[in-house]
């Protein structure tokens, strides 16, 4: 794991460089203009370039200083489950409606917990869905249909 001790900074720097490049390259496809007559591309192009520069500095500094930050474990299962849950909600809240969409979303999220088991997660899903309905639909009167058009043949 502890290759050079500077992996954190190297990775952080690299990430900033990637983002900076992505923004800068895309910006250059917009009208850039000049410093005194800026087009829509100018500001992000300059910032993107600055970010690339900062990313390089961070990486170089990390390489030189070599701090010993270890990355530690990554909760892959939780990350995948939570992202899936959020995407599922966004994807289905219109079509399935709030109740089924939220039930699945909360269930998936609850399964992300350590040592999570199916039945307690289902209980959490059911009670949180009920609570959300109470708060958002009944008290706050948000117009979120319980069941969407996909379920109505």
């Amino acid at each position: 794991m502890n290759m050079h001790g500077a992996r954190k900074d190297l990775l952080a720097g690299a990430l900033f460089v990637v983002f900076g490049l992505a923004f800068a390259i895309t910006s250059s496809t917009y009208e850039v203009g000049s410093a005194l007559r800026m087009g829509p591309g100018y500001f992000p192009l300059v910032l993107g370039s600055v970010l690339v520069l900062l990313g390089i500095l961070i990486a170089v500094k990390g390489f030189v200083a070599g701090d010993t930050g270890e990355l530690g474990p990554v909760p892959w299962k939780a990350a995948v489950l939570i992202v899936t849950a959020l995407l599922f909600f966004g994807f289905t809240v219109r079509g399935l409606g709030m109740v089924p969409s939220l039930l699945v979303t909360v269930f998936l999220t609850a399964m992300a917990g350590r040592n999570a088991r199916v039945i307690p997660a289902a209980v959490v899903a059911a009670s949180l869905t009920a609570l959300s309905i109470l708060i958002f639909v009944i008290v706050l009167q948000l117009r979120l249909p319980y069941f969407g058009p996909w379920l109505q043949g």
Binding site: L15, P44, L57, P73, L87, A110
Partner: protein
């Protein structure tokens, strides 16, 4: 003694049973909704706004204002308890407030927020009553160049928010500025970084960003295998402030209130700037700056006071000039119109009951907030004992519904997932999220004011230094920058900072 007459009239109006009742309902509702994770003040107000449309004008505005600062208060509670800021100023409160909560000091943190807010609210209301007209004239001295310089100063000051590497903090600010450019360009209408998605034309949503960066990223950190970070809070030590705490928050509350009162008047991001400028001021004047970011009570007292004082003085331009300085004030302006009141400089003369009643009700509302929240501290702290396996699905559930319902836009929900992963990776690599959030809020303003100043000056950049206020602000920014990157200072900072795990 006109002021006394006016205030008298105001209290007379505000003290009718019906207005008292709705001021109370306003702050209570605002607090209740604002405290839900993933629902910030703006969403709260938007959700509750139409409820008020059916009332009498004074009652409606009193309730609306109550919802506003109630929501803000509720937002700070969430920031402290579960590190989930609902708006940018609460992001500053979260820095130290949540650390205090982790150390079992959620009670004092919440009490500090309540007391600081009440004090600041009182001063802000007084300032509003006494100096509304001169303050509003000062606000008009700020054109685009002044604003640009002020935002620059704010961005430089935000470096102080990071307790770690200055370089990384700068990079996070810049990344935040870039994320702020997503959406339609104001000047040309060109959609930028939208991947052809019309839903992104209005830009990314603050709450999505905050829930992703703070909420989801924190959840993932907490679920990292067996190396258990102290997931939930340690044993709660005490609910109330100690004598020492009182001594420590006195200065920060006073300075925060002053800064907030002054900056709140300025259009755009006055109260955001207020809360984090006051934080960096405290960090600078503190004898123990190393405690900031690790549960310094000053780091809660200052931004909370600043934020709340600014919340009051924000009303100045609205009430005296009929000009809204923030989106929330624009909503209130809309409420005026719906009530059949023509907003403008004459409102204060034509509808004195309304204006002074509203001002008096703000103080009453703040008083209710203290009454409501001090006893509730015990309850909030108890909420920390909710098992984590229930709490984090609740955060995801509320945030999904909250961000989706803001504009019935599912992209705000996808954005949570994206920023959750991005935030997790960034934090894991030793970057702190607060500067990114502030860059995101200030980025669009920075670009807007810069470009507008240059359009108005016909491409002459000297406006930034020939206009005195702008020049002073830029000089302050330069000084702040030099202090921030001075090698000795930096070395000290680095020694101080070590990732806690």
């Amino acid at each position: 003694m006109e002021i006394l007459d006016n205030l008298g009239l105001g209290f007379e109006t505000a003290f009718t049973p019906i207005n008292l009742l709705f001021a109370f309902i306003g702050v209570a509702l605002g607090t209740a909704v604002g405290v839900l994770p993933g629902i910030g003040p703006t969403a709260t107000i938007a959700m509750l706004l139409p409820i008020t449309f059916g009332f009498e004008p004074v009652t409606s505005l009193i309730m609306l204002a109550g919802i506003y600062y109630g929501a803000q208060y509720g937002g700070s509670t969430t920031a402290i308890l579960i590190n989930l800021p609902g708006e940018s100023s609460a992001a500053v409160t979260a820095l130290d407030g949540h650390q205090m909560a982790r150390q079992g000091r959620a009670g004092p943190a919440l009490a500090t927020a309540a007391l600081g807010s009440f004090f600041a609210g009182t001063v802000g209301t007084l300032a509003l009553a006494l100096f509304a007209v001169p303050i509003s004239e000062a606000a008009l001295l700020f054109g685009s160049p002044e604003y640009f310089s002020l935002v620059v100063l704010g961005l430089i000051a935000s470096i102080a928010l990071a307790s770690g590497s200055v370089l990384k903090a700068l990079a996070m600010i810049v990344l935040g500025l870039l994320l702020g450019t997503v959406g339609q360009d104001l000047v040309s209408g060109t959609p930028r970084f939208t991947f052809g998605l019309r839903e992104l034309y209005s830009g990314l949503n603050f709450v999505s960003l905050a829930v992703g960066l703070f909420g989801v990223a924190e959840i993932l950190r907490n679920l990292e295998g067996d190396i258990t970070r102290s997931v939930m809070v340690q044993k709660v030590k005490n609910l109330w402030l100690t004598k020492d705490d009182f001594r420590r928050i006195r200065g920060p509350v006073l300075r925060g209130t002053g800064l907030g009162t002054a900056l709140g008047v300025l259009p755009g991001a006055g109260h955001v700037l207020a809360s984090f400028v006051s934080y960096s001021v405290e960090k600078r004047v503190s004898k123990k700056p190393q405690e900031f970011g690790r549960g310094a009570i000053e780091g809660v007292a200052a931004p909370e006071s600043a934020n709340n004082a600014a919340a009051q003085t924000q009303f100045v331009p609205l009430l005296t000039l009929g000009l809204p300085v923030s989106p929330i004030m624009a909503l209130l302006l809309g409420a005026f119109i719906i009530q059949g009141i023509v907003p403008g400089p004459n409102v204060i003369d034509e509808e004195p009951e309304l204006v002074w009643g509203l001002i008096a009700s703000m103080w009453i509302g703040n008083f209710f907030l203290v009454l409501l929240n001090l006893p509730l501290i015990g309850l909030w702290v108890k909420m920390l004992t909710i098992p984590y396996r229930v709490l984090f699905p609740a955060i995801i559930a509320f945030a999904s519904i909250g961000t989706y319902s803001i504009a019935l836009n599912e992209f705000h929900v996808y954005a949570i997932a994206f920023f959750g992963i991005l935030g997790y990776v960034l934090i894991k690599l030793g970057n702190e999220p607060a500067p990114l959030l502030l860059g995101f809020v200030l980025g669009p303003l920075l670009e807007e004011y810069l470009r507008r100043a240059l359009i108005i000056s016909d491409g002459d950049p000297s406006v930034f230094v020939t206009r005195p206020i702008s020049l002073v602000l830029l000089l302050l920014a330069a000084a702040a920058f030099i202090i921030a990157v001075l090698p000795t200072v930096r070395r000290k900072r680095e020694v101080v900072f070590e990732e806690e795990d």
